[in-house]
């Protein structure tokens, strides 16, 4: 029996004990992770070119890829061992403590809800740009996207992630088709990298621009760690989660490299850095109507897949908070028919809608990145504590990541660089959000925690941690 099966938790609805359904396989895990992230290739990553030039965007593509490889390695080990809904939240609860778990869940909810908001804004803007009708605004498209996807999530996780698998695969294949359609092995015919990225403009702001570019470099991969949210709904967490996460990361590294190469070879960095649709623009610049339309549709599908996965993940993190009484237990209800955390899904819906109308794309992306980086900082410390409290051999791990503690150190250092990058653009927001987390932590520690059962929070069948 896997650890996850042993720890599957239930919620009582009308006297019946119901739990989330274990129906997902590795392909769904891949679809959840890549589905959330792939939109980053269609918009967002290119703002790193604005921050530091085209070469800076490539440098951060690889360096931030290293950050996320560390995230995927660390996450695969911890999650294949702590397989419970809430992902990193459940990890924090078992390894660091309740207050950290509360904060991590909020990081997750913020990161995914703001990512969902960004996706909906992108989708609305893309449709408006394509329609070219004067007076048409993105508001109705944004509202329809968020509401319809929330409904899909309400109706069931299997259908939600089946949809995600299909639309993510189509969006991914469109990048591959674009890449091979522009003869990537030949410069000069369609691609003109040598003439667009020159020694004089490759790093227009020097190395400070490269560091600043980290802020949006995160967008290449932000959300891959969301695979862990499905931990309680996969049939074999110890196998499916590491496999799906690592396969997703490899997929994304390839997509990111192809995207940069094609886009940087087709448009000047000043334009690349400000467009909302770099891949759609790349399709247009090839001169092929087929590619243009394919990339337009793929942009919409990528935004849909991402928003869909984000609703799934944010709701599960919120649901977990309710189930452990960190927030009112009302949120921990599982739908008696669809077996989904429906109250959490419905509660987060108006919050996403509100921010979709008051924030612009750039700001929503930054909100999401801020919470993501706070979470990655936690993960680098979390894995050190995990190995110290339960050394190798003391408990059964589904996967053991190599080279420990190197990935944790790399992750921590790159998080510090990213905080500095955020400071260069959104320092006030970083301070405001950290102050918010500080105050809400005080509220939790000194007030809310009294409603929480103590020993029940530790649900893993592990021995007592070393040092306690």
């Amino acid at each position: 029996m896997t650890a996850a099966v042993e720890t599957a938790q239930t919620t009582t609805i009308h006297g019946d004990r119901v739990s989330l359904l274990r129906v997902l396989g590795p392909a769904h895990v891949w679809a959840l992770g890549v589905g959330i992230v792939l939109v980053g290739e269609f918009t967002g990553w290119n703002f790193s070119a604005d921050k530091g030039g085209a070469l800076a965007a490539l440098i951060v593509c690889w360096v931030v890829g290293l950050l996320y490889t560390s995230v995927a390695m660390i996450d695969s080990e911890v999650t294949s061992t702590v397989a419970a809904a809430g992902g990193q939240y459940a990890q924090a609860k078992h390894i660091v403590g309740p207050l950290m778990a509360f904060n991590v869940a909020l990081f997750l909810v913020f990161a995914y809800t703001m990512l969902e908001v960004s996706d909906a804004i992108l989708l609305g803007d893309t449709i408006v740009a394509k329609a070219g009708i004067e007076g048409l605004t993105h508001n109705s498209f944004i509202a329809a996207t968020i509401v319809v996807l929330a409904w899909l999530n309400y109706r069931g996780v299997l259908m939600t992630l089946n949809v995600n698998f299909v639309i993510t695969a189509i969006a991914y294949v469109s990048i591959v088709i674009l890449f091979f359609s522009v003869s990537p092995w030949t410069q000069g015919a369609v691609l003109k990298l040598n003439e667009l990225v020159t020694p004089g403009n490759a790093l227009p702001y020097g190395w400070i621009g490269v560091i600043a570019a980290f802020q949006f470099g995160i967008w290449y991969y932000l959300g891959i760690e969301g695979t862990t949210q499905a931990a309680e709904e996969v049939r074999s967490p110890a196998r499916s989660l590491p496999y799906g996460t690592m396969a997703g990361m490899i997929t994304l590294l390839i997509a990111a490299a192809m995207t940069w190469y094609v886009c940087a070879s087709l448009m000047p960095w000043e334009y690349l850095g400000i467009t909302y649709y770099p891949l759609w623009d790349a399709g247009k610049l090839t001169g092929s109507p087929l590619l243009e339309n394919l990339l337009f549709i793929a942009t919409l599908l990528a935004a849909l897949a991402s928003a869909n996965g984000c609703i799934n993940d944010a709701a599960r993190a919120w649901f977990s908070l309710g189930r452990d009484r960190y927030l009112p237990s009302w949120f921990s209800a599982v739908h008696p028919k669809y077996r989904t955390p429906y109250r959490s899904i419905l509660f987060l819906l108006p919050i996403a809608l509100a921010f979709a109308f008051i924030a612009d794309l750039n700001q929503a992306i930054t909100f999401s990145i801020l919470s993501g980086v706070l979470q990655y900082t936690f993960m680098s410390i979390n894995i050190m504590m995990f190995r110290k409290k339960w050394p190798l051999g003391s408990i059964r791990r589904g996967y053991t990541h190599p080279f420990h503690p190197l990935p944790a150190i790399v992750l921590f250092c790159l998080c510090m660089v990213t905080f500095f990058a955020i400071f260069l653009g959104f320092g006030s927001q970083l301070i405001a959000m950290t102050v918010f987390y500080f105050l809400i932590s005080l509220w939790f520690h000194f007030y809310r925690y009294k409603f929480v059962r103590r020993g029940d929070q530790f649900s893993m069948p592990w021995p007592k941690p070393q040092g306690y």
Partner: protein, 125 residues
């Protein structure tokens, strides 16, 4: 260790707690937007001569701008809109202090709570 029995929270208390969290979320995310604190220092460095050459665009770049529907005049504000990275040391120091203080509090308070959890869970082991 005696098992901790948490108090039951009434409905009004639950609603109040939800309201506190929602208001805090909105204040944290919305206030910087409202106060105009979001966004990096970016401004246009204007040029008198608005030609592709003056804008630093070679023939290939100019042809792509034109394909995208831009002229040197309309592309000027995009190309010349530049970041001016200046490290504001007092803000950087405040940010570092806030972040470090937050994480220190988080780990210390979590550890205190965690010890209670472990003591109760493994009380008889």
């Amino acid at each position: 260790m005696a098992r901790y029995i948490p108090p039951e929270q009434n409905k009004a208390g639950q609603i109040l707690d939800i309201a506190v969290v929602v208001v805090a979320i909105f204040v944290a995310l919305w206030l910087p937007l409202k106060l105009g604190l979001a966004g990096a220092a970016k401004s246009i460095d204007p040029l008198d001569a608005k030609t592709w050459d003056a804008l630093g665009q070679n023939a290939t770049m100019a042809s792509i701008w034109e394909k995208l529907g831009y002229t040197p005049e309309t592309a000027h504000d995009i190309i010349q809109n530049r970041f001016h990275y200046i490290i504001d040391w007092p803000t950087l120091i405040i940010m570092a202090i806030v972040l470090v203080a937050y994480f220190v509090f988080l780990f210390r308070a979590s550890d205190k709570e965690y010890r209670d959890v472990i003591n109760e869970k493994f009380d008889d082991k």
